[in-house]
């Protein structure tokens, strides 16, 4: 599979996105090590070259509006925060970890009931101390019609070698 093929979106049906999951994170171990991410079923589909793609499956336990069954905004927040953090981690800089400094989220529309929500994040600028990232949350078939967008700043925890 070429790099171009790995870009998620309208051209990539969900089953191929799931195929990516097994390629990037075969056992889900990268995300599984994080208790809350594991608890809400978060998956890491891609993390390379300043871009990260993650997802959260629909789960009735994570609903925010009991009448409509729409996922709670906080679930989207957790997904976008994690995706942005991963995009900073994959810039190639010697980073041991990142800590969210701030995160701004715009909610464009409710997530579709029953559908997996994906987040695609990009670290678009890296300074010595801070990574700047933006992300969109979307459904596999409708990337052009995002559920939410996010932008944030992440403090870098440099490794000893990079300090």
């Amino acid at each position: 599979m070429s790099t171009d093929d790995q870009r998620p979106g309208a051209a990539n049906p969900p089953d191929r996105l799931m195929g990516l999951a097994s390629e990037t994170d075969p056992d889900g171990t990268l995300i599984e090590a994080l208790p809350f991410s594991r608890e809400i079923g978060m998956r890491l589909h891609r993390a390379e070259a300043s871009v990260a793609v993650l997802s959260v499956p629909y789960d009735a336990a994570l609903v925010g509006e009991p009448d409509s069954g729409v996922l709670h905004g906080g679930v989207i927040t957790a997904l976008l925060d994690t995706a942005c953090g991963w995009s900073v981690m994959t810039t190639g800089a010697p980073i041991a970890g990142v800590a969210t400094l701030d995160l701004r989220i715009d909610y464009m529309r409710p997530a579709t009931v029953g559908e997996t929500v994906y987040a695609r994040a990009e670290c678009y600028r890296l300074t010595r101390s801070v990574g700047f990232a933006r992300a969109i949350a979307y459904h596999a078939e409708t990337e052009a019609d995002p559920v939410a967008t996010a932008q944030g700043a992440f403090m870098l925890e440099r490794t000893a070698k990079g300090t």
Partner: protein
């Protein structure tokens, strides 16, 4: 406290518990609310499943962000519920029966993370800066051991339901 007032306070506590519990994600995280007059304090008891960084360990930033958003939305929803209950009539009876007005919808939020969330109970309070007919603007602060040392803050705009 008179008997009648005691009954009214007990009823309001029961309605608040029902309002909180009708949202599955609130139950999933384990968010609860304490009430003193019209002021709510949100509580998030710690459990292992809320950890985002096992090495520190620290509560997941998404959990803290969710908790702040829940606190803001619930404060707005509770203000609406109190208003309807005070007015009485059919709408108040509906609330007594567990049928609540629609929740406000989040338009946008900005979260600032000041300190990492340690593995202990977290608290939060929301202040409604503007309760507009269509849009409400809310500030929320979360803290752990000391109110003067917030771990995270949220500013948000919320679309109020049922208005043009």
């Amino acid at each position: 406290m008179t008997g009648a007032d005691g009954d009214r306070q007990a009823e309001r506590d029961a309605v608040l518990t029902a309002l909180t519990g009708c949202v599955p994600y609130n139950r999933h995280l384990g968010v609860r609310f304490d009430r003193l007059g019209d002021e709510l304090t949100a509580r998030l008891p710690f459990r292992e499943g809320l950890i985002g960084n096992p090495l520190l360990p620290a509560i997941h930033g998404g959990v803290t962000g969710s908790f702040l958003e829940i606190t803001g939305v619930m404060q707005l929803a509770w203000d609406r519920v109190l208003e309807v209950m005070r007015a009485g009539g059919d709408d108040a009876a509906a609330i007594g029966a567990g049928r609540f007005p629609p929740f406000p919808k989040t338009i946008d939020i900005t979260i600032d993370y000041l300190r990492s969330g340690r593995p202990r109970e977290t608290f939060a309070r929301a202040t409604v800066q503007k309760a507009g007919r269509r849009v409400a603007h809310v500030h929320v602060e979360a803290w752990q051991e000391s109110r003067a040392r917030p771990i995270a803050m949220l500013r948000g705009n919320f679309l109020m339901p049922g208005e043009g």
